[in-house]
């Protein structure tokens, strides 16, 4: 754990941000239609790194975009020629501001699947070239439960730099990784005091207050243990009764990573796209022969809940759900995966 901490104040932080935006390709939460999404910014006024968790989409699209060109192809009498797409050269350093802890953890979780049997080079490049600056939430949202899960939110190393709004009015810029430390040293031009043991305590105090603000708390290990045996539970039918299979939860989830492949062709040239898909879609598992193992929504919900809380953990040692609550907030009928797993596990 790195303890490189810089103390500053609001103006100092703003200056830091401005400097970053000036130097690097920077992404930060930008408001559009009342919702914050991570977009490329050229000025600090455009964005709000302190955006409220309820209104912010996940950071996932910057690494696993909602749609990406996989390849280009050209068909003529000489056959089919495949070529690289012109999209996103993926070089040069990117910086993302205002990432929530849960989102950053989401990337850590996603890393597991992306470096598993097939290495997704595009994803890896994006990860390597990106520096993540997180802002720790001061207060939990109504649907948040990140602290109840299998990771240490306080000492998370999913991001490179953590910004904490200390209770003493100071702002702490804490470099979490080597990369982050180098970045702070290089780019924080104003000379602020280097943090001490005291600042560590301030950060801890802030965390304690944050932790106390959670409405939702669960006993993760118990839930995980119980769910493992509940594949045939009828409770899934009850909990999913008012689900409208709208896919929202999967699309905005920071860790859902299912996609579909489509080709689009004009004249003799075409592009192969990779776009989000969702297991909540009734046709997601429809097979060419006509069989659909998950034709009804409770089976799809079972898959979702168990994949998030059991299967991924079994395979990769991390819980797929990071407790951000995005799905519950965006759900038109407010189904929370927290309620679902608790109700099924009968806790």
């Amino acid at each position: 754990m790195n303890v490189f901490i810089v103390e500053t104040d609001k103006t100092g932080l703003q200056k830091f941000y401005k400097e970053i935006i000036g130097k690097f390709e920077t992404y930060a939460p930008v408001e559009k239609f009342g919702k914050y999404d991570y977009k490329k910014v050229s000025k600090l006024d455009e964005c709000d790194p302190d955006s409220p968790i309820e209104m912010t989409m996940s950071v996932k699209p910057l690494f696993f975009p909602k749609t990406a060109k996989v390849m280009k192809f050209r068909e003529d009498n000489t056959g089919t020629t495949v070529s690289e797409t012109d999209e996103d050269p993926l070089t040069g350093q990117r910086v993302i501001l205002g990432v929530k802890h849960c989102d950053a953890r989401g990337l850590q979780v996603l890393d597991q699947v992306y470096k598993w049997d097939y290495i997704d080079t595009d994803y890896q490049k994006r990860r390597e070239n990106t520096l993540i600056i997180s802002t720790r939430c001061d207060k939990a949202g109504t649907q948040c439960f990140c602290t109840s899960l299998d990771y240490d939110v306080e000492n998370s190393d999913a991001h490179d730099i953590r910004i904490v709004n200390g209770l003493d009015g100071k702002i702490y810029i804490q470099a979490v990784t080597q990369k982050g430390e180098g970045f702070v040293k290089e780019n924080l031009s104003q000379q602020s005091a280097v943090g001490s043991q005291q600042s560590l305590e301030e950060i801890k105090k802030h965390y304690q207050l944050f932790e106390a603000s959670f409405r939702l708390k669960m006993n993760y290990s118990e839930v995980n243990a119980k769910l493992q045996k509940l594949f045939d539970s009828l409770e899934f039918e009850t909990v999913s009764s008012n689900c409208i299979s709208c896919n929202t939860c999967a699309f905005i989830c920071p860790t859902c990573h299912c996609f579909k492949i489509t080709d689009e062709k004009i004249k003799d040239t075409g592009v192969r796209y990779k776009s989000y898909d969702s297991c909540n879609n009734g046709y997601f598992t429809l097979m060419a022969g006509g069989h659909n193992p998950r034709p009804v929504k409770y089976r799809r919900w079972r898959q979702r809940a168990l994949h998030k809380f059991v299967y991924y953990k079994e395979r990769f040692g991390m819980n797929l759900c990071v407790g951000c609550g995005h799905c519950a907030i965006s759900c038109p009928v407010n189904i929370s995966i927290f309620d679902v797993v608790n109700q099924v596990a009968k806790i």
Partner: protein, 283 residues
């Protein structure tokens, strides 16, 4: 507007008389003052049923084949919801005898900010058009007004409008929540999910989103009842009502003041015609 008591009474009565297999109403959320749809099969849960000006979601959605399994259902509908339900009845999606409709004479629901929702301010039919039992006092049909946002956008320059809509389509993540939350999108397999369509528009690009949303809104043209389930479901908070209200205003103005779902057996503006329909836009 608090009809929780009446609804609870009717629900208990229906269960007692064995007229329904399940009941769809609203339940209070524990963490704030919003409400969620609530499906009950057990009469013991009836006391949880509520109905206030926070009962926003259009419950007709729960009559779609995915939910019903063709059982008898009791359902709470507001004015706009009942119009959607009326269309579903006309389009043979629901059997009238299988649904017991509790119609509410709606006084308008609130949006997230606590103000009266825009579609309620502009509501043309607050009373239920189809019901078995009515709660509240009917206030009758109101005058149709063109949506304020449409009027405002119409005054803007074409290019400005185009930029605005491009930003909408760019922000669309094509999760299809709009479609799934719409009670009238009940198709066995949506055209946007089909091979022909995905072959050409499957990608999640802004042109793909544009195609999807335009096709979707044209499929709802002359059928949309302005309940705005889609807009509430949209995780990107896109102002989807613009597309529908635009179509509605064109249809209202040009096709005998047609409004969707107001009459029994009216299938929508695209499924009938008049010899006197406007012809001047055609060369």
């Amino acid at each position: 507007m608090d009809y929780s008591k009446q609804i609870q009474e009717i629900a208990s009565k229906l269960f007692a008389e064995n007229k329904i297999d399940y009941f769809v109403g609203y339940k209070q959320n524990s963490f704030d003052d919003s409400q969620v749809p609530f499906l009950i099969t057990d009469p013991a849960e009836i006391p949880k049923l509520v109905f206030t000006d926070r009962s926003v979601f259009n419950l007709a959605n729960y009559l779609k084949p995915d939910h019903t399994k063709r059982k008898r259902v009791g359902l709470v509908v507001k004015g706009c919801d009942s119009r959607a339900l009326n269309l579903m009845l006309t389009e043979s999606q629901v059997k009238r005898e299988n649904v017991y409709i509790i119609g509410i004479c709606c006084e308008g629901v609130l949006n997230e900010k606590g103000e009266k929702a825009q579609n309620c301010v502009e509501c043309v039919m607050p009373d239920p058009v189809v019901y078995d039992e009515m709660i509240g006092t009917p206030t009758g049909k109101r005058e149709y007004k063109v949506n304020v946002d449409i009027r405002e956008l119409a005054t803007k320059a074409l290019e400005e409008r185009a930029d605005y809509f491009e930003s909408i389509f760019e922000n669309c993540i094509r999760c299809n929540a709009c479609r799934h939350s719409c009670p009238l999108c009940y198709c066995a397999k949506c055209c946007l999910d089909q091979e022909t369509s995905t072959l050409y528009h499957g990608a999640n690009t802004s042109s793909g989103a544009m195609h999807a949303l335009m096709t979707w809104s044209l499929h709802l043209a002359g059928r949309c009842v302005d309940c705005r389930n889609c807009e509430k479901a949209c995780p990107s908070h896109l102002p989807l009502h613009l597309l529908h209200k635009q179509n509605e205003s064109v249809i209202y103005e040009n096709f005998q003041q047609h409004l969707a779902g107001m009459e029994k057996d009216d299938r929508g503006a695209f499924y009938k015609y008049s010899l006197s329909d406007p012809d001047d836009f055609i060369l």
